[in-house]
Every structure is written in structure tokens, then in C-alpha cells.
């Protein structure tokens, strides 16, 4: 099998799986899950062999051509795509496997697994896309699959609202994204990524801030950066494995992947804005995470914060590397962002699946203040979850430590203020993660659901163990180089005194954040922060909710009222006065038509037939 055929199979097998389930297996959840999981297994296998082969693919087919506009369907498979493909297919497969256990008793399993397959199809499409039009197409399709899956429990109003919100907010981002693509098309005559790279290499790029910033809008929507971050916490209404796959590991990271794809179009001003958007998102989300009581919401804000980290890393841009004795300027942002994307996919998928295991074990209890003491009841979940927590807060030796350090190093060299904010965010990260960890697993059980909890089955614990393994080893250069190839060469590494500095910072961050949370939070049914520092707690809650309040106000009070007003004017003026007056002014024609027709439809028919007959008679020369 040639690499191109392999890539096409990876793309099309999940589509076939979705089609088969939708058409034939709607009521047969068991078979549907088997079909979907085997599809995921096959593409994971094919992806691994494609990545291992080390082949690059650059091939495209014309999809549509119209009036000079050509849109092609192409596959661009290089180190960046290989890395992303690994994350999508490998993590994706284990989440499929986990779902067979988690969703076992769901009555709409068929729909769920069809949705997962559509998602895998759309996501691999983004990974393979060799041009921006194609990326946009699959970009919208992942949005659609996300909509379907968030809305899985559609009888809940909150789920219906959340799915709608996610899709619409993403479309706001896509508005800019699509304009950016069109502008890029007319500026360079192509949106093919390889061609754009060549134009850039030959110095043919126009200096444009607008193109990269418009394209970045797409990433702001998909990766839930401020000010479009509001949909991601709500998206937790979906089943937990969906949150792990789509809203933590892969789809939300697509924005970062897309930025790395268009790195050649970046200019310093654009990067600066991107960096600040990411930094502020990272800080805002970490602050919001502290006051959450829903285990999934904590993880959702944590995901937002980490995505902000990645976006900031990308925006931090270039760094001078020493290479064979020469100094070369390398776009290290790509390396750092993709490195963190990868390790984050491992440990965040692990944490979400772990929370899924907890929720499943606790009979769908999601409030961390109603849990407690689960350490002994769910030992495998506890151990693997702990590994995930330690990875995200950056315990030296685990995956998150290496990737976070790469970003901090880049920030330290390029922008001190951003460095400071990111370090503070890291402290907050350790703080809220340890808070959650302690409340869930330690102390006494605080509710019946938690008391009756049990360890999950093998289909759920096996993915936890595999992902825990990856969360441990995923950060080592040797491993990452195997996956990322040349991307690994662009990850910044500290040397000498910088190395010591970064290492000490990380350890200090870790200790300050986690010890203070461990000491401060007492296991109990109430939030210690809310009890002791009510003002601070309320302030953070208000901060978190201010965006939703603002948008809610806009939608309900401004947009909807304006729409109602227009509708009113339409009914009154256009329908009533203006048009009737106008039709009078048109003159005899309008009046004549009205005179002929008022009250009788049949009259019209008669007039028409009479006219036809008259015409016939005249022209046939009968008169």
C-alpha cells in the first residue's frame, strides 16, 4: 500500500463507519460501537505505520473548478502533520475504547459512535489538509461533530443551549478565518500551504498584518481564546469522553495546529497580538478554574488556560539557536507550542477520562465537594489521575514539565512581562489542580453517590493506564523526536545558567502552588475560599461570568430586540404602507393588475387564457 493510499484510508474509513452506523445501525448500539472502535483501531494502526515510514506526501486532486477558482483536495503529510496525526489517532483510539465502557448503558449509543466517527473523519481532514480552503471545510465539519456530540443528551435544555452556543461562537471565529483565506487567495493567487511556503522562501510575500490576524480569528474560535472562550466551559455538557477527545486533546488544539501551518505568513505585529491573546487567556482561565466546583469545569478552564499557553508560545516567535557552531534564528514558537500541544493531549485526555471514571463510579456526581475519599475506592483511577495532575503542574521528569519549561524559557528570553504572567499562571495551575485532587480523592466521602462508588472496568482503566504512561514519557526528547521529527529540533532548550534558572522557577512554582492549595483547602462540602475570603471568591466568579453576562445581554437585549424591531417595521411599513403605495405609483400596470385580481383567482386564469387565445388567433393569421 502506498503512503497516499494509506492516508486516504485513514481519512475515509471513519467516514464509512459514520455512514454505516447512520444508515443501518441506529438501533444497534453494540454493533455500532464495535464498528466505530474498529475503525478507530484501524486508523490508529495505519497512522502509526505511516508515521514510522517517515514518508512525506504532497499530493492533491482538483475538487471543484469554477470561473477560475480551483479548490483542491490534497494531502500534505510532513513532520507537523505526523505529530498531529499521532495525537489524533492514538489518543482518539483510546478514547473510543474508553467510550465503550462509559457509554455502555446509553440508549443512543449508535448516534454517539456515529458522531465520534464523523469527528475522526473531520479531524484527520484538518491534519492532512494541504490548502486553506480544505482546512476550512474540515474546520467547519469538526465544529459540526462537536455540535452533535455536545448535544448528545439533547433532552437537557442546558445541553441543547451549549451545543448551539459552541457552533455559533465558532462561526464568529470562522467569519474572520474565511475572510482571511479569501484575502490570502487574492493576495497570493493560492492558498496551498506548500506554495505559500515557496513564495515565502523566494521572498515574494507581501507584508500584511491583516492576513495572519484574520486567519488567527479561526484559531480564537476553535481554540477558545479570549474573547470567544465562552463556549468551551459550556461544552462540558457533552459526554465526558467527548470532552476528553474533542474539547481537550484534539479539536481545540486544531487552532494551534493551524497557526503552525501558516507560520510563513506571520509578521511581528501579528505575533505580538497572538502572544497577548494567549497570555491573557491563560491567566483568565486559571483564575476562573479556582472557583469551579464541577470536576469537568475545573478541567475545562484548565484546558482553556493551557491552550492560552500554547497560543502564547506560538506568538512568542523566534529564538536564536546554536546549530553546528552557527547562530540561526529559528521559529521556536512552533516547536514549543506543538510540544506542549502533544504532552497536553496526553495528560489532559488522561485527566478527563479519569474524571469520567470518577463520574461513572460516583453515579454521575460531578460536584467535587460531594466526592472525597475516592483514593481507596478507585485505586487505578486515583493513581493514573495523580500522574495526570503531576504532569500538568510540571513535576520534573513528567511530560508537562518539559513542555512547560520550553515555553517559559522562550518567554523569559523574548518578553519578561509575559514570562511573569505565565509563571503566575503556572502557580495557579498547581493550586487549582491540587485543590481538585485533594477534594476528590482524600478525606471522607461526602455523599451517598461517592460512598457507593466503585472502580471502573478494564475498557475504561486500560486507556487510563496507557495515557498515564504517555504522560510520563511523552516529554523526553528522544520520544518526542520520534513523533515530531524536525518539530522537535525547534523546541527551545535551556543551557547553563538559564537551565538552572528555569529549573528553579519551575520547582518554586510547583511548590508554592501545590503546598498552598494542599494546606488551604479542607475537605468539606463548602469551598474554603468562599468561606474565608468571600470577596475574592465572588470577584473571581464575577470575572468568570462577566463574559457570559455581557454576551447574554447583547444577544437577548440588543440583537434580539433589534431583530424584533426590524420585523415590526417590516410588517407595518413594507408589508402595509410603502409597498401598497409603491404599487399604486407604478401606475396603470399595478392598478390594472389589482383591479383584475381582487377577490377572484379564477379571473386571472380566464384573462390569461383569453390573452393566449387572442395571440394565437392573431399570429396564425385567422383574422
Amino acid at each position: 500500500m502506498t503512503p497516499v493510499q494509506q492516508a486516504l484510508l485513514i481519512l475515509l474509513i471513519p467516514l464509512a463507519s459514520a455512514a454505516i452506523i447512520a444508515l443501518f445501525l441506529r438501533r444497534k448500539g453494540g454493533i455500532a460501537s464495535a464498528v466505530s472502535v474498529s475503525a478507530a483501531a484501524v486508523i490508529a494502526g495505519l497512522s502509526l505505520s505511516l508515521i514510522a515510514s517517515g514518508e512525506e506526501i504532497n499530493k492533491s486532486w482538483e475538487w471543484m473548478q469554477l470561473g477560475g477558482l480551483t479548490i483542491s483536495l490534497g494531502i500534505k503529510f510532513d513532520d507537523l502533520a505526523a505529530l498531529m496525526l499521532f495525537v489524533v489517532s492514538f489518543v482518539g483510539f483510546f478514547i473510543h475504547l474508553f467510550s465503550t465502557g462509559y457509554m455502555h448503558d446509553d440508549k443512543a449509543r449508535g448516534r454517539y459512535f456515529a458522531g465520534l466517527s464523523i469527528f475522526m473523519f473531520s479531524m484527520t481532514g484538518i491534519v492532512f489538509a494541504d490548502n486553506l480552503f480544505m482546512m476550512f471545510i474540515f474546520w467547519e465539519l469538526v465544529g459540526f461533530s462537536s455540535y452533535l456530540l455536545i448535544n448528545h443528551y439533547h433532552e437537557k435544555q442546558s445541553a441543547a443551549d451549549a451545543s448551539k452556543k459552541a457552533f455559533i461562537v465558532n462561526r464568529v471565529g470562522d467569519f474572520g478565518f474565511l475572510l482571511g483565506i479569501i484575502l490570502c487567495y487574492w493576495t497570493y493567487g493560492t492558498v496551498n500551504l506548500t506554495d505559500l511556503g515557496e513564495i515565502s522562501a523566494s521572498g515574494g510575500l507581501v507584508y500584511s498584518k491583516l492576513i495572519p490576524l484574520l486567519l488567527f480569528c479561526g484559531a480564537v474560535g476553535k481554540s477558545a481564546q479570549m474573547p470567544l472562550q465562552v463556549w468551551l466551559p459550556d461544552a462540558m455538557e457533552g459526554p465526558t469522553p467527548v470532552s476528553a477527545l474533542i474539547h481537550a486533546a484534539t479539536m481545540v488544539a486544531a487552532g494551534i495546529f493551524m497557526l503552525c501551518r501558516i507560520e510563513v505568513l506571520m509578521v511581528p505585529e501579528a505575533l505580538n497580538i497572538i502572544m497577548w491573546v494567549g497570555t491573557i487567556t491563560a491567566l483568565y482561565a486559571a483564575l476562573s478554574a479556582i472557583v469551579q466546583s464541577d470536576i469537568k469545569k475545573v478541567l475545562a478552564y484548565s484546558t482553556l488556560s493551557q491552550l492560552g499557553y500554547m497560543v502564547a508560545a506560538f506568538g512568542l516567535g523566534s529564538l536564536v539557536f546554536e546549530h553546528d557552531g552557527h547562530d540561526v534564528l529559528v521559529f521556536a514558537g512552533v516547536g514549543a507550542a506543538m510540544f506542549h500541544l502533544t504532552t497536553h493531549a496526553f495528560f489532559k485526555a488522561l485527566l478527563f477520562l479519569g474524571s469520567g471514571s470518577v463520574i461513572h463510579g460516583c453515579h454521575h456526581e460531578q460536584d467535587i465537594f460531594q466526592m472525597g475519599g475516592l483514593r481507596k475506592k478507585m485505586p487505578i483511577t486515583f493513581i493514573t489521575f495523580t500522574i495526570g495532575v503531576l504532569a500538568i503542574i510540571g513535576l520534573p521528569g513528567l511530560a508537562g514539565f518539559f513542555s512547560k519549561d520550553a515555553i517559559l524559557l522562550l518567554a523569559m528570553k523574548n518578553n519578561t512581562v509575559v514570562f511573569g504572567i505565565l509563571v503566575f499562571t503556572a502557580i495557579l495551575t498547581a493550586f487549582y489542580m491540587i485543590r481538585m485532587w485533594k477534594l476528590v480523592f482524600f478525606g471522607e466521602t461526602r455523599s451517598d453517590n461517592a460512598a457507593k462508588s466503585h472502580e471502573s472496568g478494564l475498557s475504561m482503566t486500560l486507556p487510563l493506564m496507557v495515557l498515564a504512561g504517555l504522560a510520563i514519557i511523552g516529554g523526553y526528547t528522544g520520544i518526542f523526536r520520534k513523533l515530531g521529527g524536525s518539530i522537535a529540533d525547534r523546541v527551545p532548550h535551556a543551557h547553563g545558567s538559564e537551565h538552572t534558572m528555569i529549573l528553579l522557577t519551575s520547582i518554586a512554582v510547583l511548590i508554592i502552588g501545590s503546598i498552598s492549595a494542599w494546606v488551604y483547602y479542607k475537605p468539606g462540602a463548602k469551598d474554603s475560599l468562599a468561606q474565608n475570603f468571600n470577596g475574592l471568591f465572588n470577584g473571581l466568579t464575577t470575572l468568570k461570568e462577566s463574559f457570559d453576562a455581557l454576551y447574554g445581554y447583547y444577544v437577548a437585549k440588543v440583537q434580539q430586540r433589534f431583530a424584533m424591531l426590524l420585523n415590526f417595521l417590516e410588517q407595518i411599513f413594507l408589508a402595509g404602507l410603502i409597498i401598497r403605495g409603491f404599487s399604486g405609483l407604478v401606475g396603470l400596470l399595478g392598478l390594472g393588475a389589482r383591479a383584475l385580481h381582487v377577490g377572484s383567482l379564477h379571473a386571472y386564469v380566464h384573462w390569461f387564457l383569453l390573452g393566449m387565445a387572442l395571440l394565437w388567433v392573431l399570429t396564425s393569421g385567422l383574422f
Binding site: 471543484m64 473548478q65 469554477l66 470561473g67 477560475g68 477558482l69 479548490i71 443512543a108 480552503f133 476550512f136 471545510i137 474540515f138 467547519e140 465539519l141 459540526f144 455540535y147 448535544n151 439533547h154 433532552e155 435544555q157 441543547a160 443551549d161 451545543s163 448551539k164 455559533i168 462561526r171 470562522d174 467569519f175 474565511l178 475572510l179 479569501i182 484575502l183 487567495y185 487574492w186 440583537q559 434580539q560 433589534f562 431583530a563 424584533m564 426590524l566 417590516e570 413594507l574 408589508a575 410603502i578 409597498i579 404599487s583 407604478v586 399595478g590 393588475a593 389589482r594 385580481h597 383567482l601 386571472y604 386564469v605 390569461f608 395571440l615 394565437w616 399570429t619 396564425s620 393569421g621
Partner: protein
């Protein structure tokens, strides 16, 4: 090209008309219904046949051409039939939507089913004729043939406000049709070609174009004449009202196919024959379409409570994209319009069909009194969400290609209008998903709980599912394989339009 022993286009036009006539002459009901299957099925098959056999890279303009003398040749009128790359996709659209609407009508159990089917079949014959006619007299004649049954169907089988709706529709559409008729006759007179044959007119006017002032005047006439028929803002108010009241099969055929007559007339006749005239009007056209159809009507769509009116308004909004594509006066823009016409025809017909299916289960079109229908009718919910996604231009469906091409083309015309048009994808997502959520998701409202206690809602029957699946299959087919439609369109445009574009640009 074609191995058939008969003229497929004529047969496609005549077969529904013959069945309609037979029913009118008093066929028994059972036989009428059986023959109606033939009357709707045959045109669809013949249209697909024409699509499949349509030659790519056509030497002459039109394929499958034939000419029949109808006794009007002294006036330069003859029944000249043929398909080019622009009319062929629309001919196929008429066949497919006609089949779906027909299948739905046959099993709908409407009162006075025979007359209903007879009128629908007449409409179907007219629709096939509109897009197969090269002669613009017959083009217009077939339009009227399809239009009159619409009024009657709204008046007799319509829902709420049917008399007012029928009246308003009649006034507006007659006005539009008359304006365009005057324009067409004026072209015939001024061209001096002494023929209604579009090919002859094109040759005559290419050799000797009309004076700029005449072109400007005539194009304006045609623009507003055809524009009313396509519901250009602010002359659009008949559309939501009429569709809201029309019986579903009539709404499917009118919104899906007949409405495209106006756009087709602009693309195939008005712009190519009067290119300089067109260039005078594009700014006004673009302003009306972008601010009126896309923005204002888009926002109005959001405020609708009535499901069917919402679909009607959304259709008016999407016509804004089509007008904007025409305003570009480039082959890319117009090509996008042709794809959008086909795509929109399929998707809006599907939405009208499914809205009626919703109505059968909720006994109301008021979205405030629905909710949670997905729990009772999951297949209906799935199809409705899919149709909504098609309508709001999700990739994978035909509509996406039309919208995308128009957006790209529009950038060269004006970045402002591009931004407005692209903002439309947000607006349409809002009203589309909001409607889907209100009807199907969340918990049932009190009103709906009462209704469903009295009439327990069931999921879709095959009689409802089959026509929906036909339309959906067509949307998917074009969505995944856009070349199937872009190739003939591109062929026709790349032959005829460079001249038009360069003349208009002068």
C-alpha cells in the same frame, strides 16, 4: 449524445401535462394516483439522463436541441428546446424537487387529491419547460403555466391567512412577471432579430449591441421584474407570507424551483444580452442585496416564531447571496450563483417538507409551543438538523460550494459586501440552530405536552422519509462531488462570459 428514440426534453415537459390533462378529464382516483407517479417520475429520470449524458466541453452552446413549429413562427416564436451548462443543472433540479414534492403530495391525503395532483403536475410540466426552452417566449409561457397553479393551490389548500397570502402573492408575482415581460418584448423589438430565439438574439446583439441608455433602461426593467420574482428586498414580503400559507408541495416547488426563474432570467438572458446595462445597475443591486436581503432580512429571520415563515425568510436571505454573485459580473460569481440556485432549491424544499412533517406532529407552526420533539421522532430530528446544516452552508452539502464561490468572487467586487455576506454565515447559524433547538431539543413545552397526549407523535413514515432522502441524497452528492455540477457550469461560462465581462467592464 443520446441514444433515446425520442426527444427527452419534450417528453419531460409533456408527460406531467398529459397526466394532468387525463386527470382533469375524469380519470378514477386510483388510476390518477398511479399515473401521477409516472408524471413525476418520468421528468426526474429524463433530467438525470440529461445530466449523465451532458457532453463536457460542448462544441455548440446547447445539447439535446430540437425545434417544433407551434404555428407562431410568423412572430419569430417556436418551441425550441435544448440545455446548456447553466440550464441543465436547473432542469435536473426541477426534476428532482418535482419528484420529491410529487411523492409527498401523493401520500399526503390532501382533500380533493385529484385536483391537487392535477395542479401540481401542471406546475411540474411548466417548470421542466422553463429551463428547457431556448425560445424566450416559451420560457415565459412555461413560467406562467407553473405560476397560476401556485396561486390556486395557495388559495384552496393554503393554511392560515390563505386568501390574503394568495392575493398578495398574485399581485406581486404578476407585477414582476409583467415587468419582465415588457422587458423581454422590448429586447425582441429593439434587437431587430425578429426572433424570440435566445441564440439568435445573442448573435444579433453581439453583432450590434443596443445603445447604452436603452440597455440601462431595459436592464432596470428586467432587474426589478425578475427581482420581484426572486424576492429582492424590499419587494420580498410576498415570499414568507406566501410560503407560510402554501401547501407544502406547492411551497417546495415554488421556493425550490420556480423562484429560480428570475435568477435564471438574469443570468441567461438579461446580463448576457445587456452587459453595459447590467454594469449600470450592479451597485444598486449589491446594496439592496447586501443590506436588505442578507442583513435586514437575516435579522428578521431571527425574530420569527412561525417555523414555516422562518424558512421562508431564510430563503429570502439566501437570495441575497445570489444577487450579490450576479452583481460581481464575473464568471466566478455567476458560477457560484448557479450552484447556489440548485443547492438552495434542494435544501429549501427539504426544509419546507420537514416543517410540514413537524406540523403534523405538533399541530402548530409556532416554535414557542414546541420543544423536545426529538425524543418522539429522532429520525425527523436528524433529518431536520441535517437539512438546517445544509441550508446554513455547512461543507459536505451543495450550498457550501455556491456560497464559498460567491464569497471569493465578491472580494474583487467589494470587500465591504464580502464582509456583510460572510457575516451572513453567523446570522444563518443563529436562526437555523435556534429553530432546530426550539423544535426538537430540551424539554417539551406545556402546549406540546398537551398535543402529544392527544395525538401521540410518531416518527417519519416512509411516505415522508423517501422524498426527504431523495433531496438529501442530491445535496450530499453535489456536496461531496461538486465537479458533477461545476464542470458543465464552468464550461458554459468560460465560453460565453469573457465577452460579457469585458463589455460590462468598459
Amino acid at each position: 449524445m443520446t441514444a433515446l428514440p425520442f426527444d427527452p426534453l419534450l417528453l419531460a415537459i409533456v408527460s406531467p401535462l398529459v397526466v394532468a390533462l387525463a386527470i382533469a378529464l375524469g380519470l378514477p382516483k386510483r388510476l390518477s394516483v398511479k399515473l401521477a407517479y409516472v408524471g413525476f417520475g418520468l421528468p426526474a429520470l429524463l433530467a438525470l439522463h440529461a445530466w449523465y449524458h451532458f457532453p463536457v466541453g460542448l462544441g455548440s452552446d446547447y445539447a439535446f436541441t430540437t425545434n417544433y413549429n407551434t404555428g407562431l413562427e410568423s412572430m419569430g416564436i417556436s418551441l425550441k428546446l435544448g440545455l446548456n451548462g447553466i440550464s441543465m443543472p436547473l432542469f435536473a433540479l426541477a426534476g428532482i424537487v418535482g419528484l420529491a414534492a410529487g411523492l409527498y403530495a401523493i401520500q399526503s391525503g390532501a382533500e380533493r387529491l385529484k385536483i391537487y395532483l392535477m395542479l401540481l403536475l401542471t406546475m411540474q410540466g411548466g417548470l421542466m419547460g422553463v429551463f428547457a426552452s431556448i425560445d424566450i417566449f416559451y420560457f415565459y409561457f412555461f413560467h406562467e403555466l407553473a405560476l397560476i397553479p401556485t396561486f390556486i393551490m395557495v388559495g384552496i389548500w393554503g393554511g392560515r391567512d390563505r386568501n390574503y397570502a394568495a392575493m398578495k402573492m398574485t399581485i406581486y408575482l404578476t407585477l414582476g412577471a409583467m415587468l419582465s415581460l415588457i422587458g423581454l418584448i422590448a429586447i425582441y423589438v429593439k434587437s431587430g432579430a425578429n426572433s424570440f430565439d435566445l441564440i439568435a438574439l445573442r448573435e444579433a446583439l453581439a453583432a450590434q449591441p443596443l445603445a447604452d441608455s436603452v440597455q440601462q433602461y431595459l436592464f432596470g426593467l428586467l432587474l426589478f421584474g425578475f427581482g420581484i420574482l426572486v424576492s429582492i428586498w424590499p419587494l420580498h414580503t410576498w415570499a414568507p407570507l406566501g410560503y407560510g400559507a402554501a401547501p407544502s408541495s406547492a411551497a417546495m416547488l415554488h421556493a425550490g424551483v420556480l423562484k429560480k426563474f428570475g435568477l435564471y432570467g438574469l443570468i441567461q438572458i438579461a446580463v448576457p444580452l445587456l452587459p453595459t446595462g447590467a454594469s449600470h445597475w450592479v451597485t444598486i443591486l449589491a446594496i439592496l442585496a447586501a443590506f436588505g436581503n442578507v442583513l435586514v432580512v437575516g435579522l428578521i429571520t431571527m425574530a420569527q416564531r412561525d417555523l414555516k415563515q422562518m424558512v421562508g425568510y431564510s430563503s429570502v436571505m439566501h437570495m441575497g447571496y445570489a444577487f450579490l454573485g450576479i452583481a460581481c459580473l464575473t464568471s466566478m460569481g455567476v458560477g457560484g450563483v448557479v450552484i447556489l440556485m440548485v443547492a438552495h432549491g434542494l435544501s429549501v424544499a427539504l426544509l419546507f417538507l420537514l416543517s410540514t412533517c413537524v406540523h403534523h406532529r405538533t399541530q402548530t407552526f409556532d416554535m414557542e409551543e414546541m420543544g423536545g420533539l426529538a425524543q418522539k421522532a429522532p429520525v425527523l430530528a436528524a433529518l431536520f438538523v441535517t437539512a438546517t446544516m445544509a441550508g446554513i452552508g455547512l461543507p459536505g452539502f451543495a450550498n457550501f460550494w455556491g456560497e464559498l464561490t460567491i464569497f471569493v468572487a465578491l472580494w474583487k467586487f467589494s470587500t465591504l459586501y464580502t464582509a456583510i455576506a460572510v457575516a451572513g454565515i453567523i446570522i444563518s447559524a443563529i436562526y437555523g440552530l435556534r429553530a432546530a433547538a426550539r423544535v426538537f431539543f430540551g424539554s417539551p413545552t406545556e402546549a406540546f405536552t398537551e398535543v402529544s397526549a392527544k395525538h401521540p407523535p410518531t416518527d417519519l413514515r416512509w411516505g415522508e422519509k423517501l422524498p426527504a432522502l431523495i433531496l438529501l441524497a442530491a445535496l450530499f452528492f453535489i456536496g461531496f462531488w461538486p465537479k458533477s455540477i461545476s464542470e458543465p457550469v464552468d464550461g458554459a461560462l468560460s465560453r460565453d462570459w469573457p465577452a460579457v465581462v469585458s463589455t460590462a467592464a468598459k
